[in-house]
Symmetry: C3
Subunit: 349 residues, 3 copies
Amino acid sequence: MKAEKIQYTLAELVAGLDATIKGDPNYIISGVCTIQQAKPECITFLMNPTYKKYLEGTLAGAVILTESDAADCSVNAVISRDPYYTYAKIAAYFEQKPKQAAGIHPSVVIGENCQIDPTASIGPHCTIGDNVKLGAHTVIGPSCAIASGVEIGAETQLDARVTLYYNVKIGKKVIIASGAVLGSDGFGLAKHKGVWQKIPQLGRVIIEDDVEIGANCTVDRGAIDDTIIKKGAKLDNLVQIGHNVHIGEYTAIAGCVGIAGSAVIGKNCLIGGQAGVAGHISIADDVMITGASAITKSIRAPGIYSSGVGGVVTNQEWRKNSARLHRLEKMAQQIKALEATLEELTERK
Amino acid sequence: MKAEKIQYTLAELVAGLDATIKGDPNYIISGVCTIQQAKPECITFLMNPTYKKYLEGTLAGAVILTESDAADCSVNAVISRDPYYTYAKIAAYFEQKPKQAAGIHPSVVIGENCQIDPTASIGPHCTIGDNVKLGAHTVIGPSCAIASGVEIGAETQLDARVTLYYNVKIGKKVIIASGAVLGSDGFGLAKHKGVWQKIPQLGRVIIEDDVEIGANCTVDRGAIDDTIIKKGAKLDNLVQIGHNVHIGEYTAIAGCVGIAGSAVIGKNCLIGGQAGVAGHISIADDVMITGASAITKSIRAPGIYSSGVGGVVTNQEWRKNSARLHRLEKMAQQIKALEATLEELTERK
Amino acid sequence: MKAEKIQYTLAELVAGLDATIKGDPNYIISGVCTIQQAKPECITFLMNPTYKKYLEGTLAGAVILTESDAADCSVNAVISRDPYYTYAKIAAYFEQKPKQAAGIHPSVVIGENCQIDPTASIGPHCTIGDNVKLGAHTVIGPSCAIASGVEIGAETQLDARVTLYYNVKIGKKVIIASGAVLGSDGFGLAKHKGVWQKIPQLGRVIIEDDVEIGANCTVDRGAIDDTIIKKGAKLDNLVQIGHNVHIGEYTAIAGCVGIAGSAVIGKNCLIGGQAGVAGHISIADDVMITGASAITKSIRAPGIYSSGVGGVVTNQEWRKNSARLHRLEKMAQQIKALEATLEELTERK
């Protein structure tokens, strides 16, 4: 792992990217670092203006930055219109993620009528049901449980210990982190004579291409129709997606968010950590929801939305604020009384 | 999986149910659908009045509905006093959940002195400790870890990758979704000389009959006494149940809820998604808690409860609201001053 | 499991502890119990004054309590300056946690160049990558997935179904509960031409000695530098730790908390259940954050902090409160108008 030293010239790193080198293209880079804690063998980037102060004294071997920032750069510069994107491309050279051996590990238990591409890799202790299809270069980490009828597109990667329930359909180039569970029954219940009756959950989960799903996320199968996460959407860890939810293309959802059943989230939305979206509502495209907001009604127009009351205060102040809120009715009555008295007074004159 | 076509006559579907057919009892149904996107081979249901508008033009082969709605139904009708319940019963015919083969998969590692009913099914890669008891027709999905002393009642189903710690006791007809962890240590700590000392967690987890536990839920074992989830209670995904919590019969808890240690939740409660209940408090029977509420004191009477401030606004408006809340004290003082001036003015006359 | 009866004399239980027996040192104790539901064969403790009322009539065989409470104790007393700590030490004698057999289970799949201490125990169905180091007396539960380059210190215990991604480094005497995932990719994304570009996550996760991590927690690997959880910190279940977060020594984090990327939490903090901490902010040492708070700005001084508005009310009252908050601007204007009228009135005289 850490044994192997990786080295590239700046020219090698920048090859094929929409970026130019100002400095020595043969300079050797062997890793990435932050601009404030940089070493000469590293490349870093500058995007956030807050960090510009670190540019002057940086010890980095090279800095990826915009044309306008390059003027203040005394080391090698990689000039890009989108330094963070260029950084992403270059950083990929230094990723040392271990590669799982191709083929099906002998400990894997596999059902009937499966179509496993010969280039697929299935790690130890996996259980694969019947009629499962795995595309080219799919990688299934150890101890995954993939039930019957699942289809997984090419170049998709499941990390260790992922569960896919029956008939779940995963597109191409999807990444699913460890512990995620897709296709478990939705929370469908009917109370009958005081007892909950389970509503059969007959839909599927459809994950389109380029989706990423974080560790220990849960995505329920649809009740009748399917639960759908569209192309390029990204889910952080511990996100809960209820049955029949639709997540739009390129929407990003931060950690610990819960989306209740049948909610429809638009394209290009950003949902902050620990936010919640109620069931059966719609969120328009290009909506940003700030962290910890509880969205209880549909949002029809793009924009930034929040709920509740913000601001962190001492617990003592918080207790006062909370009490004041509950005294608002009294305040409203006091104002009304004042207005009445004043009116009377003015008229009397 | 999807290969096999399932077909039933309306009469077959309704047999044994408290419902009557108005139309052709020999009509062939091969699936379920929603009322707005129905096809002639499907059965659907009407319960929510919002959807009544779709009844007239529905293409469904049959609709499950009440006597009063049946008048407006131009296709086959299944008349029921509780259409959603009747739908649940009928939809079960169309569930294509794969059935795990009976018996113990050869890859299973199993301890000593276990009592495994011969009708039980244990999937691949499970680990079963010593002295484990599995009742008739229990189904243990792949890669489950069941520690020593666990007892599981008849017809209970564990999906893939469930962990039961030692001595956890599960009743009959329980369903536990993938990734759930029952019986991990509660969060018991004593700070001693600046260092956390772990409090041994000696209680068990007791899950009574007909309980359902969602994907990636966590239920801690008791510290001294047991953590108990009573008969027929239902937990959605990613719910956290602290040590020594009691959940009452037929209480339903939506996704991402956290119940802190030693809280006692009554019977027939409904707890909305992302709500939290503080430790050592009690919630009465028949309480509904709306989503995202933080319940910090006991609730003694049935009813619907909430916390915080509701309403979704633009982030700009939210910032103003938040600032206003913190200026409430100033407003209260202004009102007081106005009252004083006015009183003085009135008296002076 | 439950078969074996455990019995100790009071003297044996107290040996080596900073506590003294008042009563019969040869009294036989075979378990622990709560003070209100005690039996003669049990030992219990009194710490919370609320429970003092149960002391007089307790049926316990012995009670651990302070010198001052001992006067009111009619049964055997174990006198301690820190009864809860003394209880923790004594309760450990009664823990019946099953011990996993030493050695590597034959079903384990193990990579190359690993250094597994001969006293280590690896349970069934684990997958161990290359270059993994396991210290003395480490215990790895069943179905764990430990990727290449992971190092685990002596006496650390992983329960069933834990995932450690590559290069994660775990200290000594760490406890990781079932379902936890450490080292998955952080949520690093750059939007480029409308499409999310994944930022490679090149840092590690470092868990220092004596840390405890609850069930189904997720801890992301760093983007460039490492994510670090320092010595003696404790995490309850379902906690999400973003990339590059630092958690200080002896900080305790309750269930369902989310800490967003690059947040830095100080030493000896207490973070209540379901609280959230925004990314890139700092929390000072000795800060307590109450449950469900959303911390959106840095906290620079010790103290207790909260956010939002507290208090649980009926849903009807909550709707009114919420509406009032949104009418605050109008109230402020009314007050202003009153002040103006009054001033005019006063001047006119």
